[in-house]
Amino acid sequence: MAATLAGAPARPRRLLASRRTRAGILYALPAVIYLLALFVYPIFSTLLLSVKDLDGALTLHWYADALTGVNLSVLFTTLRIAAETALFSLVIGFLLANAISRLRPLVAALAMLIVVVPHFISALVRTYGWIIMLGDKGLVNQLLISLGAAGAPYQLLYNEIGVVIGTTAMMLPYTVLLLYGVMRGVDRRLLAAAASMGAGRVTIFRRIYLPLVAPGLATAGLLSFILALGYYITPALMGGPNQTMIASLINQQVMKQNQWNGAAAEGVILLLLTFAGLLLVKLVSSLGEAKKRSAS
């Protein structure tokens, strides 16, 4: 913009800029007002509610509540399930994205379609599909028994195995998409250069490929961890009472116990955990950028 107008006289240029600025503010207003009223203000009032007692006095006792007894174990369960989900979707996502990135473009596009299309189908519906698949007479148990890998059906539902299988399947599209993008961005010439200098496959993978995709790996893992933290559809449907997560607890406290303040405190804790995760993502990506710059 500045370059093309450099020759123009100063006055009209300022006038033009200010008209563009005014138009920008005008056009931005609907979104800004809407989100301030229905997104920022509600979260702000959640924050406020979490530090107020029933009589309106300031208190931290909802947080004390959230961090003791059953509620504390729900917090640990949430962190554990989110971590397990992140780990599995990262490992499976890495191998899957790697395999897809080696395929011919058309086949790769088809494979990515199989990864991405389920993402647009309701999570509830997909969870239901997994429940049918993992039941005592479901496809997985039938397969295991017919292969001779199991004598009796495995209990794959209403425990942590079911939850981790289900939530991993829900998070996988995110990790695969992210990692596939990172892997496609890796300059193959670097790998070829290393090979031409006599590096073996393992060395190339460990010394060149892995460092190049590492920031993407960290981001993908953290992303699925963050997403899993606030999730409860699949854990509620595929888990048992021992797999209750924070989001589910918030729902119970509001709907069944009318404990809005407690729910608000749990919400703020979830929010803080999410921000901590995002901060880590930011840190990792800036470290990655720095590394890339120093390498080139």
Partner: protein, 288 residues
């Protein structure tokens, strides 16, 4: 030689693993569709006998599904309209103006994607409960718009960035007013993006569970809440049929998005080749 063999084995193992994972990602969806045509839901796969029974119960007297379906469709339509208004204006501000605090506005607009949905839903509950608006389809639609508008903004920002601004400049230089430019140039080129934004807003609202769960009341349970309740408390076999319908809708919507994108991609290229050849010529294409 040995290294070659080991990499070949590794590659085969990796491909086999990927195939199994892809199969497992697709299978739950296939299984639902197949089971929905079975006589007995749930029991076994593949089914022993086939019928359309679950589709009949779906629309039988006293069924909760038609009501939930039309409520969700109404809410999703409202939310789509709101999201498009927000999306079009915000994307225009972000791509076609000099906006002060631009990155702050962008962060605000995309915020709902980052904040856990349950927290946003709780906040909306705290907003609408005192106003006695729980159970109001309008309140639910307003809530869904918070979740859907970031996606609309993202798609429309990408769309507007993809439109060559030289086309708009060229029209202006030929004396077209701003409305004419919007109507004759920008809108036709942005239309495929707007259709995509509308479809994704609709899907987001239609599938939303967290906001609906908090904002609905006994009389107004959206489809996802009904499905959740049905799966959680009383597995009602007709849930397979409604799930299969939702799968069909989602795939149809995605095909539609693909089709619109494909049809739209030719348009700008045609316009550009004509315009650049005549009016714009070289000046726009400054070589560094």
């Amino acid at each position: 030689m040995m290294e070659l063999r080991s990499t070949l084995a590794g590659r085969i193992a990796l491909t086999a693993f990927a195939t199994v994972v892809l199969l497992f990602l697709a299978l739950p969806i296939v299984v639902i569709v197949v089971t929905s045509f079975s006589k007995s839901a749930f029991a076994s796969f593949p089914p022993d006998s086939w019928s359309l029974g679950w589709y009949e119960t779906l629309f039988a007297d006293g069924s909760k599904w038609p009501g939930a379906l039309s409520l969700s469709a109404l809410i999703a339509s409202l939310s789509t309209v709101f999201s498009l208004i927000i999306g079009v204006t915000a994307a225009t501000a972000l791509t076609r103006s000099e906006l002060p605090l631009r990155s702050a506005v962008y962060a605000l607009v995309l915020g709902p994607l980052i904040i856990p949905h349950i927290v946003t839903a709780l906040g909306l509950f705290l907003l609408f409960e005192p106003a006695s608006m729980l159970g109001s389809p309008l309140a639910i639609a307003l809530g869904h718009t918070v979740m859907a508008s970031p996606i609309a903004v993202m798609i429309l920002v990408a769309t507007l960035r993809g439109i060559d601004e030289r086309l708009e400049d060229a029209a202006a230089s030929m004396g077209a007013g701003r409305l004419t430019i919007a109507r004759r140039i920008t809108f036709p080129l942005a239309a495929p993006g707007m259709v995509a934004a509308a479809i994704f807003s609709f899907i987001t609202s239609f599938d939303d569970f967290y906001v609906s769960q908090f904002l609905s009341s006994v009389g107004t349970l959206t489809l996802p809440v009904q499905i959740y309740n049905s799966l959680m408390f009383d597995i009602d076999p007709s849930v397979t049929a409604i799930s299969a319908l939702l799968i069909a809708f989602a795939i149809l919507a995605l095909v539609l998005v693909g089709l619109v994108r494909w049809l739209g991609s030719g348009r700008q290229n045609a316009l550009l080749s004509v315009e650049t050849a005549t009016a714009l010529g070289a000046p726009g294409k400054e070589t560094p």
